[in-house]
């Protein structure tokens, strides 16, 4: 945020017109990351400050290539497609975890609990009250965080090609059964008596 750096008189700042969450610009692109770091370190040569320099390359938040990421075929037709999908993707999640040795799933639930949590959202979509499907108080936001993170982490394992800005978020909400169920449950809660603080944060602001 250039305005913040200017107003707080940061001694040396490299302004990068990149989407939020991408401080170095491009994941898995060492050369680009080196260029950003070099531009930042070049500021150390400046004799006077505060100084703000602009990195010459911008990255748009929109219009990146869609994520190419296959979804598993139906394995158990007795389950809701979202629950079946989440179960079918567990092996890919485990592989991503083994490879990276890290995960950001765990704010409210574990990876093993993702299918069960989705089943609760399915019940909301099918007409049950949001506060009677078994979510502990104030846990829904963190649960969706974990479901989305589960999908985003395994998507990075399965995807072909670069991971563009917001590509995993768009894939999750627009391309998976799980994302669709969460959006439908969010709309159902919005149209019921649920307080906005319960349902609004289940998807980025602006999503329907």
């Amino acid at each position: 945020m250039r305005e913040v750096a200017e107003r707080t008189k940061v001694p040396r700042a490299l302004y990068t017109d990149f989407p939020v969450g991408l401080s170095l610009g491009k994941p898995r692109d060492k050369q680009f990351q080196y260029e950003v770091l070099q531009a930042a370190f070049d500021l150390l040569e400046e004799p006077e400050g505060p100084v703000i320099r602009e990195f010459p390359v911008s990255i748009s938040s929109t219009g990146s290539e869609p994520l190419v990421c296959s979804l598993p075929p139906r394995m158990n037709t007795e389950l809701h497609p979202a629950v079946d999908e989440a179960q079918g993707l567990k092996a890919a999640y485990d592989r991503a975890y083994q490879r990276n040795r890290r995960t950001s799933v765990g704010m409210k639930i574990s990876a093993e609990q993702v299918p069960e949590a989705l089943e609760r959202f399915v019940r909301i979509v099918e007409g049950e009250r949001w506060d009677e499907v078994g979510f502990p108080t104030r846990s829904m936001y963190g649960t969706v965080h974990d479901i989305r993170t589960y999908y985003e982490e395994l998507a990075c394992e399965l995807a072909e090609g670069p991971i563009g800005p917001w590509a995993t978020e768009e894939w999750f909400y627009d391309g998976t059964e799980a994302g669709q169920v969460i959006l439908k449950a969010r709309r159902a809660m919005r149209d019921s008596d649920a307080d906005q603080s319960i349902w609004f944060g289940l998807a980025p602001a602006g999503r329907e």
């Binding site: 939020v20 969450g21 401080s23 150390l44 704010m107 985003e152 990075c156």
Partner: protein
């Protein structure tokens, strides 16, 4: 309606209007040459090691986490739904370029990599007084104790 995190115009309006403390002057100094300097990262991505307590939601968690140089089992504690977490899921270096620093040190472009790096939560109170008066100076003391010469701040 556009998604907030993707709308640069809305983000700029937000950053121009966010309440900030006034600083009379900039703390500007001249560090030693980069190829002799020990470099540490301070990130606002709220990173913490897997299994740790992490960061609270809201703007009242001003503590920082210490990230050992070798640690890669890092969890992203930036929980906002309006934040693109895909980049970090694919490559921690896009937020926390620790591997890039190691490579720059091997090539003698920087003098060395600090043994300890630090993560704060980016969502802070409007005055940021807690970080300015408490955890910020404490973190700086830790880095001075280690002999850090240059701090790379990565905002998220």
């Amino acid at each position: 309606m556009s998604v907030f995190g993707k709308d640069k115009s809305a983000m700029r309006k937000f950053s121009a209007s966010v309440p900030l403390p006034e600083f009379g002057e900039s703390s500007f100094n001249e560090p030693k040459p980069l190829n002799l300097a020990k470099v540490a990262i301070v990130t606002t991505a709220a990173l913490y090691r897997e299994g740790g307590d992490g960061f609270e939601l809201g703007d009242s968690d001003y503590h920082y986490e210490t990230l050992p140089r070798h640690a890669r089992d890092l969890t992203l504690g930036h929980h906002s739904v309006n934040f693109d977490r895909g980049g970090f899921a694919a490559d921690i270096n896009v937020v926390y370029p620790i591997d890039r620093l190691e490579e720059l040190a091997e090539d003698d472009i920087i003098g060395g990599v600090a043994e300890k790096h630090y993560a704060f939560a980016g969502n802070q109170s409007p005055t940021v007084s807690e970080i300015r008066l408490d955890t910020g100076p404490l973190c700086a003391k830790e880095m001075l104790k280690e002999g850090v010469d240059v701090v790379l701040l990565t905002g998220t």
